[in-house]
């Protein structure tokens, strides 16, 4: 992954002076020998046999998970401070707590698979290979941002990594995602589309329209419900008769995944992608059996911040609940414990990694702060295709006049 750069450490690392363990500690390395880890929770499935709980990973992968999640976490916290310092304005929806979903998904797919998500997209952008500098620039509305400063927090895009954003209207990305999947199937790309939405969006009509279309036309679409249990201020039990979002597809197979476990997410996404690309039905009597390529993955996750920076996040849930999840289910801590248990790195080395990450984020923020804001003429550009637009002017035609480029 573009984000992490691991270097093999030399023997200048301090050895722990006294350990009760007699195992010789491995140095942090780009070791790719497979390690098998079991997911903390089994998968619950609907209309399909769930994948195995044993996930293949490696030291390199675990370390990259740790580093990338720490980067995402640090980015979101930095965004929080920038918002409070009024350098980021408007609406800012933070993803901290949910990093495992973005990371696990990336580990299972390629950049040719498309991802489309809602407005809580900063970490998804990073996962797709987006840079910190572009992210912070976009948040602060600068021209060096990924959307040239015209989109803001809710509209991050990355075309070369098949990241289709970044959507403000809840649920609007669902039919779009199915359209992307259709295009992929049509051009025989052997790629799939992961359409992410939240538990709030799960009650939108357009989601069911998209679900039906994708199933009807055998589209390689994987619908991922990031269930953080709150649709802004409304808990899932108050907005959904059936909060088992993975079953909501009815005839569409579904899988419920512990979204705080990056390895479980990776396993589920790998499984879903393979299922979506299968060329033919399973079962003996394939005329009667309707094979659905599509799948719903419900990621059981949690967000620490409120819905957005305008929402304190504590009026509809208790602080105990938030800190409880942080203590027991935090995705970064989980990977940290795995790394230490498998002797891949020490606590100190991981802390050093986190410090490095923090420096990286601070540097990106500082650089982004220096970037310029868009020119006023940008107000009129890209409304239509270049050269195809109309003239636009302000109240006094003599005062403000701009012709679209």
């Amino acid at each position: 992954m573009a984000l992490s750069r691991l270097s093999s450490r030399s023997t200048t690392l301090l050895q722990p002076l006294a350990t009760t363990s007699l195992l010789r500690r491995r140095h942090i390395s780009t070791d790719t020998t497979p390690i098998t880890v079991e997911t903390s929770l089994p998968f619950t499935s609907h209309l399909i046999s769930p994948p195995s709980r044993a996930v293949e990973t490696s030291s390199q992968e675990l370390l990259s998970f740790f580093r990338d999640m720490a980067l995402m976490r640090r980015m979101e916290i930095a965004a929080d401070s920038l918002y409070k310092a009024k350098l980021i304005r408007g609406f800012c929806h933070l993803y901290d707590g949910q990093e495992a979903v973005a990371i696990g998904m990336e580990a299972a797919i390629t950049k040719r698979d498309a991802i489309i998500t809602s407005y809580r997209d900063h970490c998804t952008f990073l996962g797709r290979g987006g840079g910190l500098f572009e992210a912070f620039s976009e948040l602060m509305g600068r021209t060096t941002g990924c959307s040239k400063g015209k989109g803001g927090s809710m509209h991050f895009y990355k075309k070369d990594a098949s990241f289709y954003g970044g959507h403000g209207i809840v649920g609007a990305q669902a039919p779009l995602g199915c359209g992307l999947a259709f295009a992929q199937k049509y051009s025989k790309e052997e790629a799939v589309t992961f359409t992410l939405y939240g538990d709030g969006a799960a009650n939108q009509g357009q989601l069911f329209e998209a679900l039906n279309i994708a199933a009807l036309w055998d589209l390689p679409a994987v619908l991922v419900c990031e269930n953080n249990h709150y649709g802004m201020g409304t808990a899932e039990w108050r907005s959904a008769k059936s909060p088992a979002y993975f079953k909501r597809g009815d005839y569409v197979p579904g899988l419920k995944v512990d979204g705080m476990d990056a390895l479980a997410v990776k396993q589920a996404c790998k499984f879903a992608k393979e299922h979506a690309l299968k060329n033919g039905p399973i079962g003996s009597n394939h005329h009667a059996f309707a094979f659905v390529f599509e799948q719903i993955l419900e990621m059981d996750t949690y967000r620490y911040h409120g819905h957005s920076m305008s929402d304190p996040g504590s009026t509809y849930r208790t602080r105990d609940e938030i800190s409880g999840v942080r203590q027991v289910r935090d995705p970064i801590d989980r990977v940290r414990k795995l790394i230490i248990a498998h002797d891949i790195a020490t606590e100190k080395e991981l802390k050093d990694m986190e410090k490095e990450v923090r420096k990286e984020v601070d540097a990106a923020v500082a650089q982004a702060k220096e970037s310029p804001i868009p020119e006023p003429s940008e107000l009129f550009s890209n409304i239509y295709v270049k050269g195809f637009g109309a003239e636009s002017f302000g109240a006094d035609r003599k005062e403000l006049r701009a012709t679209l480029p």
């Binding site: 209207i169 649709g231 201020g233 907005s239 509809y316 302000g394």
Partner: protein, 366 residues
Amino acid sequence: MASLLGRFCRKLVVPGSAHGSRMVSTTACDSEAVKSLNLYSAINQALHIALETDPRSYVFGEDVGFGGVFRCTTGLAERFGKNRVFNTPLCEQGIVGFGIGLAAMGNRAVVEIQFADYIYPAFDQIVNEAAKFRYRSGNQFNCGGINLVFNLPSKSLLLIRLLFIGLTIRAPYGAVGHGGHYHSQSPEAFFCHVPGIKVVIPRSPREAKGLLLSSIRDPNPVVFFEPKWLYRQAVEEVPEHDYMIPLSQAEVIREGNDITLVGWGAQLTVMEQACLDAEKEGISCELIDLKTLLPWDKETVEASVKKTGRLLISHEAPVTGGFGAEISATILERCFLKLEAPVSRVCGLDTPFPLILDAIKSTVNY
């Protein structure tokens, strides 16, 4: 800014008596107690009164239970119960459709759409169902109508109430500076093109309370846009009792002779400032608050333009196809020979509402 708003908010308001409940027995009218309130508190008060005076009224929408994102529904769930004030799932089309059905069964449904930018999934329900229900059923069904209710509160007193029931859809609209593409839109023009519904936009807390009560009690479906910029910014003396401001009646809030200015909602704040600046140059401006955009008070504007001979319309929404075009065309038809100059429109630019951060602060203080 606050003093500016205080200035033009001080106009007298005629309490509506033509609409709403007419009680045979009179209750003592409370003294003219007023309280200094901002816009969201005034709307909150209006909702409290609406729910209090009619047991078959309901307030629902996304997150209204804890008070809503703008606190307009604070205290309602606690006071009137979760059966009458409740959260809905995130589905605008479903929410409005549900409200239409509820209203058709003889109730007052007050629907909240969290931001006017999100109202589009519900557009089909509003245009194709709410607006046409009465028309296509030959007045058999409607989502706004008249109920005759007999109450016997005591042995000697018979209370006959004429209750107008119906659907009211409330949504915060308008720019708030940093709202960006999806928290700043002014979609009133789309709705003004639909015969069968009413579109109402208040300019201040006192107006908002009266107009909202009128809208809730109007026997037609009403779309009520609240200027979110003014939720906290505008503070005014608002009478505490139950009063209504008539719909489809524009108000001349500032008299003048040289030019007529027409606007609604938060834009009037800006226009009032323009009037003051113009006055320094010796131009006397007449400022009209349209209040109800559909059906709009053509007579008041016509009379004013016949007096001044000039018209300028201003709204936040983009100029092309905005409601100013309708006003311009109508006034042209009615006042052509009296016009000294073409009708002017000072409106939003023809772009999606952009992501603007602090650059805008030089012109708009938010």
